[in-house]
């Protein structure tokens, strides 16, 4: 049950590092990515899920909150309910599409927040070094000492159920991971020639961090974060699944999976649908992250 996108990551980090200068580099990466059919397909599917979640109110769907006891647990393919109905008789298609809104928010927002916080912390720790580095990195080590699922659940359990609490707890889980990478890349880049040159030419620390280091650090972290979204989606939905995330009656995939679990003896395949959505988004981001990684790996 790991919960860190794996391996090969540091490779990508190191390869990206020396090429801060080239705008041509990113153009090449983009071109390579567009030629990768799997990545393009993933991007399209993810875009479809995003757009439908965003445009849900204008898609002419049934009311995702309006239930009816008479039509509960209809099977997939019932007339009027293409994906059946849930345990309260609410239209599954509508709830799955509307469910994308919260599910994607609680899945992606923690990664974005952790991306911002972790990158800043890592840059500072790596560039300033010394005591500040020690303070930041030792704190990070403590959080690293917990398996991420355990940490996420412990924090959510302590804060109580709710969307905000769940976002907070996942952010806390991811910040140390991103800080570590940012710190190690920054430390690596700090002593490189072009940074020395910039320093010699009188650039201030913030300028150096912003212009020279951020560019180098962002690439690898971005790849990592894309893979992390997959983990985050699974964990966020997992929290709701345990009853520690989104509260009913909001449509959210993890919570839907939880409440529909009681229906597996009656209408199993409807009960499995929300999980398939989580799976789709998660695998999409993972494949995209892989695609980006190999696109950035110019060596091949």
């Amino acid at each position: 049950m790991s919960i860190s996108p794996t391996s090969a990551l540091s490779d990508a980090a190191l390869q990206a590092a020396p090429s801060s200068k080239a705008r041509g580099y990113w153009a090449t990466v983009g071109r390579r990515l567009l030629r990768d059919k799997v990545s393009v397909a993933c991007a399209l599917i993810l875009a479809l899920i995003f757009l439908s979640a965003l445009a849900a109110p204008w898609l002419g769907l049934a009311d995702p909150y309006q239930g009816s006891m008479i039509r509960r647990l209809r099977h997939i393919g019932t007339a009027g309910y293409p994906l059946g109905t849930d345990e309260l008789g609410r239209d599954m298609l509508a709830r799955l599409i509307y469910g994308g809104r919260l599910s994607l928010i609680v899945g992606i927002l923690p990664v974005i927040l952790a991306f911002g916080i972790g990158t800043s912390l890592g840059l500072i720790a790596g560039y300033v070094g010394g005591k500040i580095n020690t303070a930041i990195m030792r704190t990070v080590d403590v959080f690293y000492a917990f398996p991420s699922v355990l940490l996420a659940i412990a924090i959510s359990g302590a804060l109580g159920a709710g969307i905000v609490n769940s976002i907070v707890s996942l952010t806390i889980v991811f910040v140390p991971q991103i800080t570590r990478i940012a710190e190690s890349v920054t430390t690596g880049v700090r002593n490189m020639d072009f940074v020395e040159a910039a320093r010699a030419s009188g650039a201030g620390p913030f300028t150096i961090m912003r212009v020279h280091m951020l560019g180098n650090v962002l690439g690898p972290i971005f790849v990592y974060a894309t893979g992390l979204i997959s983990v985050s989606m699974i964990l966020a939905a997992g929290l709701s699944f345990l009853g520690l995330g989104t509260k009913p009656p909001e449509p959210e995939w993890g919570l839907m999976l939880n409440t529909l679990r009681t229906a597996i003896y009656i209408n199993p395949w409807v009960a499995a649908l929300p999980g398939a959505m989580i799976f789709a988004v998660s695998i999409g981001f993972n494949l995209l992250s892989d695609g980006m990684r190999s696109a950035m790996d110019i060596r091949n």
Partner: protein
């Protein structure tokens, strides 16, 4: 080597204390009454405050932390509020069941992971590689609690081949390694194994590919060295990293079992954590988190030391 081990252990001590502090803080920022498990909502105010004193929840937090830490160092994690049983025995019994599950899952996940990883690494960029990589990526992307549900739907509900929940006909107390009991382990273990399987596959594939693409392998092959020797060479070079990854995966399986144990009502540490959270049983909650986190720290330490023992370069860094 000994000096390295000592250095690592000394480095771990502050982490352990901080981990204990984090556990304690997490549990005590919890809103709600710590005695909710034993104090009915209809209990009088007077009774509530009387019990708060009896349990020591009226004392300042630093004092409570100090006392708890001191007792914990002496092997006493206090008593569960809800059951009155000693926390340590509750946790260790549950951890034992989680270990059973994790080891079964590791056997499945690591075997398949090594197999697919080596296959994919050897036949890089062929259809074999594509299939193995797809399985791996599905493994790391699947919400495992959902997979567990789907397996229950197929094998318990539809086919009625395997039990859906529990740890054997007589509970974990009467566990035995016969089919009557192992039936109960199959679905949770398979479910738990998919993520380690995916991760080990990806790691081993990358390692194998890297080693095989090195120039000297070409040279060895050109010299007419037999494939078995090349294979041995691959294994030798891939082993340290692969083992480190597997060690960590084992740690994740032990510490992150809550979702799967909840799906399968497997009476391990995750299920214990779940009930501690929902009963707001603070001593049990902080004790369980602490023990699981310490297991993880310990496993990390072991992995580091084992890696250093195999690859002397690590010691110097």
């Amino acid at each position: 080597m000994l000096a390295y081990i000592l250095r690592r252990i000394v480095y771990v001590i502050p982490i352990v204390v901080s981990v204990a502090l984090v556990c304690f803080m997490l549990v005590h920022i919890t809103p709600g009454d710590p005695l909710v498990a034993i104090l009915p909502a209809d209990a009088s105010q007077e009774l509530a405050s009387q019990l708060r004193i009896a349990y020591g929840f009226d004392r300042p937090l630093p004092v409570q932390f100090g006392l708890w830490l001191w007792k914990a160092v002496n092997g006493d994690l206090g008593h569960s509020i809800a059951t009155g049983r000693p926390v340590l025995s509750e946790v260790m019994r549950a951890v034992g069941n989680t270990v059973t599950l994790a080891i079964a899952a590791a056997m499945i996940g690591f075997t398949l992971g090594l197999f697919f990883g080596l296959l994919a690494g050897y036949f890089r960029d062929t259809w074999v590689d594509k299939v193995a990589t797809s399985i791996a990526i599905a493994g790391v992307s699947v919400p495992h609690y959902w997979l567990g549900m789907v397996l229950v739907i197929i094998f318990s509900v539809q086919l009625n081949w395997l039990p859906a929940v529990g740890a054997g006909p007589g509970g974990s107390g009467a566990w035995g390694w016969d089919w009557e009991h192992i039936r109960y382990l199959v679905l949770p273990a398979v479910t738990t194994s998919v993520i380690p399987m995916g991760i080990v596959t990806r790691t081993v594939r990358a390692l194998t590919g890297d080693i095989l693409s090195q120039d000297f392998v070409e040279a060895l092959r050109a010299k007419g060295l037999r494939e078995t020797h090349v294979f041995r060479h691959v294994i030798k070079n891939a082993a340290p990293t692969a083992m480190a990854v597997m060690g960590l995966q084992l740690g994740y399986m032990l510490g992150g079992s809550i979702l799967i144990e909840t799906v399968f009502s497997w009476p391990g540490s995750g299920l214990l954590l779940n009930s501690a959270i929902f009963q707001r049983d603070l001593p049990l909650l902080q004790g369980t988190i602490l023990v699981l986190a310490l297991f993880f720290v310990f496993l990390n330490l072991m992995v580091d030391i084992a890696q250093a023992a195999i690859d002397p370069r690590i010691k110097r860094s």
